[in-house]
């Protein structure tokens, strides 16, 4: 599908998408996994006082924000993307087999993952960039298959304007029917048994304009709100 570029319209950058995604977090013991890429930025938007249980697949649970100061960085406490993160009281380390026991066993409540494409039925493609001979499967497939909920964070369109939210995947699938919510640079969309529901729209965009850059049909309900950070 070809789609308009809307080049003059506002869009969230990676950090702003991560900031919006941080609103999905909650205290109380639920486990949130921050996947490779943009999701790793989320930990920087967690209130330091808040007891949000963050897991990273390389084997750490209960960590804090990314450490920005290289002097304070500890290379023995990194996230799945290799960034140094704060140890906080309650943090625990585990082996890779135990970290993925936690993932495979369904103990991760929400995982945030990047996406190359998301299909209307929740199919996710995020491991192989077109043109590359192979890709980076990492721990994302285990997470996509086994987390209770998958939230994708992604630009709404590729650089050439092609929609990333599609009727059917054209790229290699990571996991089927797993994505429950998409947080893009212009909207928040839920994937429900009744189809795609537009929940939030970035100021400067209309629902109709969001539809023009989204391949499957979006339904708009009365509780649609503006995307706020």
């Amino acid at each position: 599908m070809s789609a308009p570029r809307f080049e003059d319209k506002p869009r969230l950058d990676d950090w702003a998408m991560a900031m919006r995604a941080a609103q999905e977090l909650e205290e109380g013991g639920k486990v949130f996994n921050l996947g490779f890429g943009i999701p790793m930025l989320i930990s920087s938007f967690v209130d330091r006082e808040a007891e949000v249980l963050l897991h990273s697949e390389n084997g750490v649970i209960g960590f804090g924000p990314v450490i920005e100061d290289p002097e304070r960085a500890d290379r023995y406490c990194i996230n799945g993307g290799g960034q140094p993160v704060e140890k906080r009281p309650g943090v625990a380390f585990m082996s890779h087999e135990e970290s993925f026991a936690l993932i495979r066993g369904g103990w991760v409540d929400v995982t945030f993952l990047g996406a190359l494409q998301v299909a209307a039925n929740g199919d996710l493609a995020n491991w192989k960039v077109p043109g590359k001979i192979s890709g980076a499967l990492g721990g994302g497939q285990d997470l996509a298959f086994c987390a209770k909920s998958v939230v994708c964070i992604t630009t709404h369109q590729t650089k050439d304007g092609t929609p990333k939210i599609v009727n059917r995947l054209s790229l290699d699938i990571t996991a089927p029917e797993c994505v429950k919510r998409i947080i893009s640079d212009i909207a928040v969309i839920d994937i429900t048994p009744d189809g795609l529901v537009l929940r939030e729209v970035l100021p400067g965009w209309t629902p109709d304009e969001v539809q023009q850059v989204t391949e499957p049909e979006l339904s708009v309900t009365s509780d649609l709100v503006e995307m706020a950070l």
Partner: protein, 256 residues
């Protein structure tokens, strides 16, 4: 005869790694997790036709130098950090069983990607969780297991699919190595190991996943000094222990 698994050098520790061996290479992706000195010793030894397993296929020597500079704004990378990429770069690797054979973006082409494009290396792509569990199964004497991860995707290949609890599962086989080369923090001479922070990762998983496990450690402590409640890898899984040098050896070509 007391139990003493400490060997005197990295070269000695890998001296019997034959061509064609299956090697579990510990580490994850950061600079503190790889058994850098054991990787360097394997490069010096020059064993060929290796199958390596692990998360990441690793960087070339040149890329490592670049990484160390590029990453300095985030955190200091040690000068004695080597990843399995130097084995790939030198043509020692015939096959990789890997989760990150190539990098996600187009910016950087790791050696494995270059060889893959030329058809000079074989890839078995696998997610981190299934890889970790296959190695754990080898340690634990489980021949095979059914995981919900992978049906209908690239990782299914010719694996058996079977339904349990309303979901399709893949049959994954135990993956026992000839050698596990891992990094740990402290060891005693029996081979009991503890790790440090997120450097535990695949290192602890691969301990015992092979016929021979070789641990590269920061420090060898007296027997009894490791808290028996905190030993992560007990002695039977470790056959050899080598201590890292006090002064970093920054050229992998240097025997040590």
């Amino acid at each position: 005869m007391p139990i003493d698994k400490v060997v005197g050098s990295f070269d000695e520790a890998v001296a019997d790694v034959a061509d064609g061996s299956l090697i579990h290479v510990g580490g994850f992706g950061g600079p503190a997790e790889y058994p850098s000195y054991l990787i360097a010793a394997l490069a010096r030894r020059g064993s060929k036709g290796l199958t390596i397993t692990g998360n990441h296929s690793g960087f070339s020597e040149g890329q490592l130098t670049m990484m160390k500079q590029r990453m300095s704004g985030m955190m200091a990378y040690p000068d004695d950090y080597f990843s399995p990429g130097i084995l790939v770069e030198r043509g020692q690797v015939a096959k990789g069983i890997l989760a990150f054979p190539v990098l996600p973006g187009a910016a950087l082409k790791v050696p494995f990607e270059e060889l893959l494009e030329k058809g000079e290396v074989e890839l078995e792509l696998i997610g981190q969780g299934s890889l970790a569990e296959r190695i754990r199964a080898a340690r634990a004497g489980i021949a095979a297991f059914y995981t919900p991860v992978g049906p209908g995707t690239v990782t299914q290949r010719d694996k058996e699919v079977r339904w349990f609890d309303g979901r399709p599962h893949l049959l994954e086989r135990a993956l026992k190595g000839d050698f596990s080369i891992i990094r740990a923090h402290k060891a005693d001479r029996w081979g009991n190991l503890v790790y440090r922070g997120t450097a535990r990762t695949f290192n602890a998983t691969m301990a015992g996943g092979s016929r021979v496990t070789i641990a590269e450690v920061d420090e060898i402590v007296e027997l009894g000094e490791l808290d028996p409640e905190c030993i992560i890898t007990p002695a039977p899984y470790v056959q050899r222990v080598v201590v890292r040098p006090q002064e970093p050896v920054t050229d992998w070509r240097t025997p040590c």
